[in-house]
Amino acid sequence: MKVRTRSDLAKLRSDGLSTLYPPGLRISVGMATCGLAAGAAEVYDALHDEADRLGLYLMLIPTGCIGYCQQEPLVDVRVSGRGRLLYARVTPDRARNMIASLAAGDLPAEGALAYIPEENSELSKPSEALAGVPLLNELPFYSQQRKIVLRNSGLIDPVSLEEYIAREGYQSLALALLDDTPQGVIDHVLDSGLRGRGGAGFPTGRKWQTCHGIQAQSKYIICNGDEGDPGAYVDRTVLEGDPYSVIEGMTIGGYAIGAREGFIYVRDEYPLAIERITQALAQAEKLGLLGENIFSSGFDFNASIVRGAGAFVCGEETALISSIEGGLGEPRPRPPFPATSGLWGKPTIINNVKTLATIPAIIRHGADWYASIGTEGNTGTVVFSLVGKVANTGLVEVPLGLTLYDMIESIGGGGLNGKQVKAIQTGGPSGGCLPTALYNLPITYENMTQAGSIMGSGGMVVMDEDTCMVDVARYFLGFTMAESCGKCTPCREGTRYMYDILTRITSGEGTLKDLELLEEVAEWVKTASLCGLGQTAPNPVLSTLRYFRDEYEAHVKDKRCPAGFCRALIRLTILPDLCTGCGLCQRECPVGAISGEKKKLHVIDQELCTHCRLCYNICPEGAVEIVR
């Protein structure tokens, strides 16, 4: 069957609704990469096998990321007429017990993280039996979230086009193709205020308008899924959990700018995302939602996947284009901008995964609706992968304009294990580290840039009192040094030089002169580099120098690492009052630096000790002290 009309769509929609909200039992397991890493596949198998054994009929769905990655494996159990519960940290054993309870007609409230209310459904409120379970949207982690990009992730079966359509999918494409002109679509996007979610925040509608205005035989639209920032996994999650939203957004974009061909560029390190996108493309083609004469409108659009070979710089748009063309993944000077001369010299639009996933929502609900979310000039929502030394980790989608405090303390629940948060890193190696003194800063593109960081593509890494900020800067410079394509002198030579200085400082060999040179070189790399990668590479250095200069000075002047992290600047000793002589540290020390008799005080041989801190980490009594 091919979808040609709205009524074809309605038929698929009812198919999708019947599996999304079946009359019996539906169990979804969060099986994006994050869930799989936490053991979701084993949980899925346990649920499957036990249900088989007990003869329990159910729909078992491997869904995308449910968001609360820290609580994974997450299992969403929906019993028609009874309720819908989210279970956290499910083990295969617990999974089997759950099936046994469900087979016995029970919906156990025990162990449930939250009740998931469903709008306009019998399950909008928990029954009395489940009254004690908190509502999902009342959990601190979820209460300030607003899901637009992640609207389907963790809810639908990612490869079921019917379920995507049941969640309003392809209504927007029908609206665009049947009721609107390309210019009309661009106007909606312009009015919505949507800005590129790849990090730089250029207004998407303006980019489209430029490309739309150029006459050309062929044009292209590219989805940039070359997410590479350490700590960011938002694009991966969207591609894994809701691939059709990206394909639909891209098709609408193609219609708006006049492109008949699209490419989804995904890094090869994302095998599951590639698998899901490949399946979704095939399914959309089969149903005529890609290909010729979509919705009988006369509009043709095809899309295919291009797998990136793993260079960070290919996330830069001109390098990405060169990579698709089969050339070296290295940037070229702009202008010309890709919107006028891009892939194979043709006008080309490159949008981030999240940007494209947002487009259908804007077309469906209107520019005004979208513009009403967030703040003036920074409309809509932004998705962060909140990770690092924070109590609650996971994918968080919030309206723009929320403060850093809201993100870290309210949603994130503050520092991990009650420790003090020291800095928030956004934007990966292009971003910077912001101190908690800026907690009240509303998260907007301009604020982040002014503060010395960038919005970035979704990574938000929390650092606490044990994190050395000089070492953080060194880590990121090591990353950019390795990922710089090496084309232009400032990025190639400058990042290496900065990395060398930072290595000297963290080894206790830095001088005040080094600090001066570090700043001077950082400014040069920032202003003289060819592409965005080089121009932003010094941000981790400049921002830590700006907010944590005292830590640099402590390393240089006092040869001291205030966080107690830098190996060369610490010493480990065992506190006589606390050591019980259990011998664990002696057995585990990789260099045999610890000696002592059983039940007597142990000592560390400072000559042999490499400061690896294994003893510090494993001592059950907390008797190992870091002397800074």
């Binding site: 710089v313 002198t489 400032p490 001077e520 040069w524 060819l530």
Partner: protein
Amino acid sequence: MVNLTVNGQPVSVPEGTILLEAVRSMGVDLPTLCYHEGLSPYGACRLCMVTITAPRHALVASCTIPVEEGMVVETDAPDAVAARRMGLEFLLSRYPRSGVIREIAEREGVTSSRFGEPPPDQADELCMLCGLCVRVCRELIGAAAISFIGRGTERRVGTPFDMHSDACIGCGACAEICPTKAIRIEDRGSKRILHTWNTTVKLHACPECGRFFVPEPAAFLKEMLPEIKDLWALCPACRQKRTTSQWLNTGSTPTS
């Protein structure tokens, strides 16, 4: 024509002119290593940095941007000078043996570098990755026998897998265009050895004088040069002899 101001002086240049050319046309010198007027703009060495104050304020590599109407350019603005000097200081520290780099650096007032010396195993390195050889081979010769390998500080130029290249026609344009003379080519008897590319090509001998003068793989060029097609086999000296005597005998040359 496009009107712009360079260091306070008005100038008009044809539309599409690269800013660097406009600046040079006024006799203002800007250092470059990766720029060549016959090749596509590349923007790698970042030595031709200038400050533009209109239509927007920016520090730019003048070799990569086309002129715009009303553009105001300051070649000696402090940030531009600082950026150029910084680049030269780094190049000087990485390639201390390169006379060309030393010379350019001196012209910009840079005689020493604060950034140390190259690692011992790279002390003799001359290739500063300007990409002129790669571009001339691809864009003008059409052979694309060499390209960049690796990235970041590991970046270098070579043939695929550093093996003998069948695509290389031995023309030597790479060595000719290389500003730092980093490419070593040697003619030895009937062979041309392109040491840097691990490639050897056969040379063709002039049937008249027996001198080896052109790489055999370059023979396809005669199809593109109809005026010397019949004289291709002769070395330039014998060719001249032949055309001169022809002219003396018949009053016409093959090219007239």
